[in-house]
């Protein structure tokens, strides 16, 4: 209780110092959510498995399930607002939504305008392959063939660290890379966990299981600046969801992979 009071005071002081009246005016999002019992969340509708439109025209996905989970914990009804990756931050900064749960990555520019919760979803590029191929580190790739989509983040990052003993096959697009992996033309594939999940979904004969991470950039929930109480609440719910397995269930459902321990 005392901690909350102090935090509230700090939050108030920060609000006064940095933003003055206008910031302070919408620094009560949690209060409004509890009063109106509606949590407005910006979700993707064009980015499976995080968010896409289902057969009944309703958005479904990892982000939507996370939004529903948060709303339930807050005792509110979830109101899903479909956004694009370009307009999701403006939706939040103009107060049209309370949270962005839209596979949002953290970067310095975004941190200037919005706040971030703890990570809620894994998003990484890695090397994937069937269990029969042993590869735990970059050094293990020597002498193996690895398929990758040319010019992608994983291509650039992997090319920096591998030795020239690795036989990298670079394909024009994700389809080529996936086909090469599924047909066994390459032993391993470097791609995003989302792509690997999409392949696992179809249960092919060659399963792309994670070997090791190439670049990790997990997703965070975006909140308005100086929404101290809401941020605290969201982080508390996420922490609980991580321990009681409800977030792991969402990960298993949409990504077909366990939640990384360090998330």
């Amino acid at each position: 209780m005392r901690f909350a009071t102090i935090l509230g005071a700090v939050g108030f002081a920060t609000a006064v110092l940095t933003g003055g009246l206008s910031t302070a005016a919408h620094a009560d999002a949690l209060e409004r959510i509890t009063k109106e019992k509606v949590l407005r969340v910006a979700v993707p509708q064009d980015f499976p498995p995080f968010g896409s439109v289902g057969t009944d025209m309703k958005p479904v996905g990892y982000d939507i399930d996370t939004a529903t989970l948060l709303a339930k914990e807050m005792g509110a009804k979830v109101e899903l607002v479909p956004v694009t990756s370009a307009n999701r931050v403006p939706y939040l900064t103009t107060g049209k939504v309370d949270l962005i749960i839209s596979s949002l990555g953290k970067n310095a520019e975004r941190e200037k305008v919005i706040d971030f919760s703890a990570a809620y979803a894994p998003f990484y590029n890695g090397v994937f392959g069937p269990d029969s191929v042993k590869a735990e580190t970059v050094a293990d790739l020597d002498g193996k063939t690895v398929g990758v989509t040319r010019g992608s983040v994983e291509d650039i990052e992997l090319s920096k660290v591998i030795s020239d003993k690795v036989n990298v096959r670079r394909y024009e697009d994700n389809n080529g890379t996936i086909s090469a992996f599924l047909s066994g033309q390459v032993e391993l594939v470097a791609t995003g966990n989302v792509v690997a999940a999409a392949i696992l979904e179809r249960k092919p004969p060659r399963l792309p299981n994670l070997k090791f991470l190439v670049k990790n950039s997990p997703c965070f929930i975006g909140l308005g600046k100086d929404e101290g109480p809401l941020l605290e609440k969201v982080n508390a719910i996420l922490a609980k969801a991580k321990t009681d397995g409800s977030l792991a269930a969402i990960a298993e459902k949409w990504l077909h992979a366990p939640l990384p321990k360090d998330l």
Partner: protein
């Protein structure tokens, strides 16, 4: 719309380009030699008296000439592994080019054979030449001479078509250009250079084939 060219950024990638040009040339040479070989055999089969053989070769020619090269390439590289037939991308590229040029050159060479007057064949037979001898010395030579320009064009088309092989990660010239522009974000320069190199290669191949054709067939054609 002023655009400032910056070719200096390509210099770092010179080894990639050299490798790309060498691969394109290698694919073309292998594809041409084997493809024209299949073409000659196919044309001989199509002009032979063996009806099942004629039909089989005809089916091959129609199948290849009426499907896209890219699909043929994907069939070999991504499809055949399902049957346990797996080959590296360069082998798949050469195989696709050989099969493709084989079908087209079968038709081209057959046209040349059809244009050989029947009387010449009869003249050969009356001199006591065997069937293979007649084909080799009387039919094939003048036939190749007649269709050499058309065959040369097809070889150039196949060489330019090898750019499609970049889709299965064959590291030829188009792959090199795609690779470079994905790294230095200078697509105009990369493709400008690739275009120039293809043009130079095509002109070079045409010149070489014209010289070869002149040496091999001109004297014979004059006599024919």
């Amino acid at each position: 719309m002023a655009y400032t060219f910056d070719f200096s950024s390509l210099w770092d990638y010179a080894p990639v380009l050299v490798h790309g040009v060498a691969t394109t040339v290698g694919l073309t040479v292998a594809g041409t030699v084997l493809g024209v070989g299949i073409g000659i055999a196919g044309a001989a089969a199509r002009s032979s008296g063996n009806r099942p053989l004629r039909i089989a070769v005809g089916a091959y020619v129609e199948l290849i000439r009426n499907t896209p090269f890219l699909v043929q390439l994907f069939f070999i590289f991504f499809g055949l592994p399902s049957l346990g037939i797996r080959m590296p991308e360069w082998a798949a590229a050469i195989l696709a080019m050989v099969i493709n040029l084989g079908a087209y050159s079968t038709e081209i060479i057959r046209a040349g054979i059809d244009a050989t007057p029947k009387g010449q064949v009869e003249a050969g037979a009356s001199l006591g030449m065997t069937g293979p001898q007649i084909f080799r010395y009387i039919i094939l030579g003048p036939a190749m001479g007649k269709i050499w320009p058309a065959l040369s064009s097809q070889i150039v088309i196949v060489m330019l078509g090898s750019s499609v092989c970049s889709q299965i990660a064959t590291e030829e010239l188009s792959f090199a250009a795609n690779f470079i522009q994905s790294r230095n974000f200078r697509p105009f320069e990369a493709y400008f250079l690739a275009t120039a190199l293809y043009l130079a290669l095509a002109v070079g191949v045409r010149w070489l084939l014209a010289r070869m054709g002149h040496r091999m067939f001109m004297k014979g054609a004059a006599r024919a």
